[in-house]
Symmetry: C2
Subunit: 437 residues, 2 copies
């Protein structure tokens, strides 16, 4: 298709939505892509490059295979935030080489954005916004808007600057259109602008945009100068990443690898598995310590996995709630009060589960003493696992670590250790009562 | 504040952003809220009710405490989708009573939206969009837009209808402003409209909006008549809910309960814990079956929790990837090919972990036969757990169940059973070789 009739192809291709163009592009072989670069202009390619997910591993490869002038032009035509997302994946030499071939202003903008730390407002903002002066009529503002609309990423909000280029107000395009065109901008602008600081964490920005249902939010420096805007589509990516990271924390696996090749996937999972294996060895040596007890009452072995498994499940539940609570803080609860609440939950679930298993084991093994040992051990193990699941992520967050490090498997493996310790301590105390022969 | 100087309060309050007004309102006592309803108009109250999270449990209570005329007026002033979200929480009698006091058109719109099934495009769309005819100039369209802009939820996209009220095209406000005002709408409108069907699942809608980076998407019936639009802020809620449900699936707990009281939390977690306890009993009775083997070689008890724990961890990792893959399907992989990939991953992780533990146990217990038994059992248990974690959610999805039902704790508990079976079968076969005395 690409080779035979370039003009017909161009027409069909350009009728597609840019996201569909991107999907088509991603399905091509290298030879076909090289042809594509000759059929389309840099600006047309940049248009759909804006719609390629910036996590895509192949982006640097695409850039490398383009003539470098074409690549520089294409990046200039993209929205600055997306172009910078691509540049971040390249080495320093390539970045400088590309920036050198761009118009000065674009290169300057990108160089500035490249400096902001990852995961801050500055790193995800774009510089293509519309700013106007306060002392003009709406009609004059509309003329300014028309002139700049084509380049802006979102024209729904128009930002009003004072003489010192500080953010003085905001007008929605709706207000600009609906009001009498002879009114002055400063009359109708909203002076209570909700903005974020360029150094703010991207998750705070996401939370603000969600709370206020904004389509975009202005980003300012500490002197309230407008540096850029962050649009809601970038925030959706942040929310996704955040959810994915909570999720992988719970599973002890980097879930970005859904389409990874199986060997790479194994390489990513093994460090976790082997670390936990060695942590699990401490449980094994604890049981080893009680081996004489087990050989005396081998029935104890029957319930090891039941007690560790149930406590692990309870710990995972409480961990999930704790991590979620850290992501969406609840003003009404302090760390201590949620720990206390978790303890009450642990005692209740522990008691119910403990009594249930006491009865089941009591009838099954015709020994309510054995049943009570299992039940008591399970109750205590659940309470401890619940507390650990709730306490550890909170502690990590307080110490400045990522709470997701306290992953689900880690909590389960840790709770195996405490459960076994509780189980055999209790069993040892009562063993003479239920071993008759 | 509220009681003393109503006028001063009004001025201060109305200067706040509607989300801040909502937060203030949610912090009031009932008596204060009742005063507030007299100080503010129904339309002013409706304005910030749009910003109260529709999951808020207190919404029906707020509506009940308002004079019913006031409540009806307020709901009319809200965006239809948000008003309907509130109505859904009320009983039929109250709904009818409120709808009866609304203007006919609003009542009709809401009644229609109430009929759409939960979690479909129809249930989350709003009917406040801007639609214009194709055969007019842009200048005339701008006049129509000005007249309707105040009521629309989002005016960034203007929808173009043909004579039969079918969706014929779309114009962004940007194009409307930038182009020559004497051009005809049909000349510049985009005829390739990406839309969703009213019966589509909300997750499909979310995916489309994310892929295309839209701020809103039109919703049509099967004859392409425009029924409503879905805006990106509603989609953020869908994405959040979806992430929360995947997350709770992995943990076996409803994580919506982060601020629940501890007894309610216990009541929610217990069904899971007790169900899994009974599933765990099958593992216990399996070990019971091998009790004579354990009393003969009590060293076997030492490694039960290590093998079940490690296999459980591996199963959780593979489950997380599988659930994630179902949420973001990968065209390049079929169900079978991802199962195969997971098997390769399982064999590699199983072999590495197995060899590691063989060496550790071999040196620790001075018996490489025992080490090999543990290693072999662990390798097999990991492969089986990996396959189960990958296969079960896919199977559930194919059978039409929610794959999140195959939660993390469920997979771990199931893998306990298979791991123990594998472990003791292998151990029984070799027991004579490592038990000398």
């Amino acid at each position: 298709l690409t080779a035979a009739e370039p003009t017909a192809f161009r027409t069909t291709f350009l009728e597609l939505h840019s996201w569909e163009q991107a999907q088509f592009f991603l399905g091509l072989e290298q030879a076909e892509r090289l042809t594509l670069y000759t059929v389309l202009t840099a600006s047309e390619v940049g248009n759909f490059f804006d719609d390629i997910d910036d996590d895509d591993q192949a982006l640097p490869e695409f850039l490398a295979e383009m003539p470098s002038k074409f690549a520089a032009k294409m990046l200039t035509e993209m929205y600055t935030d997306n172009a910078v997302d691509i540049l971040e994946h390249l080495d320093k030499g390539t970045i400088n080489h590309l920036l050198a071939q761009m118009p000065q202003q674009s290169a300057l903008d990108m160089r500035r954005l490249l400096h902001y730390e990852d995961e801050t407002a500055g790193a995800i903002m774009t510089t293509e916004f519309i700013a106007i002066a306060a002392d003009q009529t709406l009609a004059a503002a509309m003329v300014a808007l028309r002139a700049n609309a084509a380049d802006a990423e979102l024209i729904y909000y128009v930002y009003v600057l004072d003489q010192a280029q500080r953010l003085a107000g905001i007008i929605s395009l709706r207000d600009l259109i609906v009001n009498d065109q002879q009114k002055m901008v400063q009359e109708i602008m909203n002076e209570r602008v909700i903005s974020v600081q360029v150094t703010d964490d991207q998750e705070e920005v996401a939370q603000t945009i969600r709370d206020y249902n904004f389509y975009a939010i202005p980003v300012t420096d500490d002197e309230n100068r407008l540096l850029g805007i962050i649009t809601v589509d970038d925030i959706i990516d942040v929310i996704d990443d955040e959810a994915a990271s909570d999720y992988s924390g719970l599973a002890g696996v980097d879930v970005e690898d859904t389409s990874e090749n199986p060997l790479k996937a194994a390489a990513k999972r093994l460090p976790w598995l082997v670390t936990l294996l060695f942590l699990g060895m401490s449980t094994a040596s604890l049981i080893n310590h009680y081996e004489s007890l087990v050989s005396e009452a081998s029935v104890l072995a029957v319930f090891i996995s039941l007690i560790t498994g149930t406590a692990g499940n309870a710990g995972t539940q409480s961990l999930a709630v704790a991590v979620r609570r850290l992501a969406f803080p609840d003003q009404a609860r302090t760390f201590l009060s949620s720990l206390l609440a978790e303890m009450v939950t642990g005692v209740v679930t522990g008691l119910v589960t403990g009594v249930t298993i006491t009865l089941v084991v009591g009838f099954w093994k015709h020994s309510f003493i054995l049943g009570s040992v299992i039940g008591l051990a399970m109750c205590c193990a659940i309470i401890v696992a619940n507390l650990a699941g709730s306490f550890i992520p909170g502690l990590m967050a307080r110490l400045g670590f990522d709470p997701a490090v306290a992953s689900g498997p880690f909590i389960s493996t840790l709770s195996d250790l405490t459960s076994v310790l509780i189980y055999f301590s209790i069993a040892q105390y009562f063993v003479t009562s239920f071993v008759q022969h």
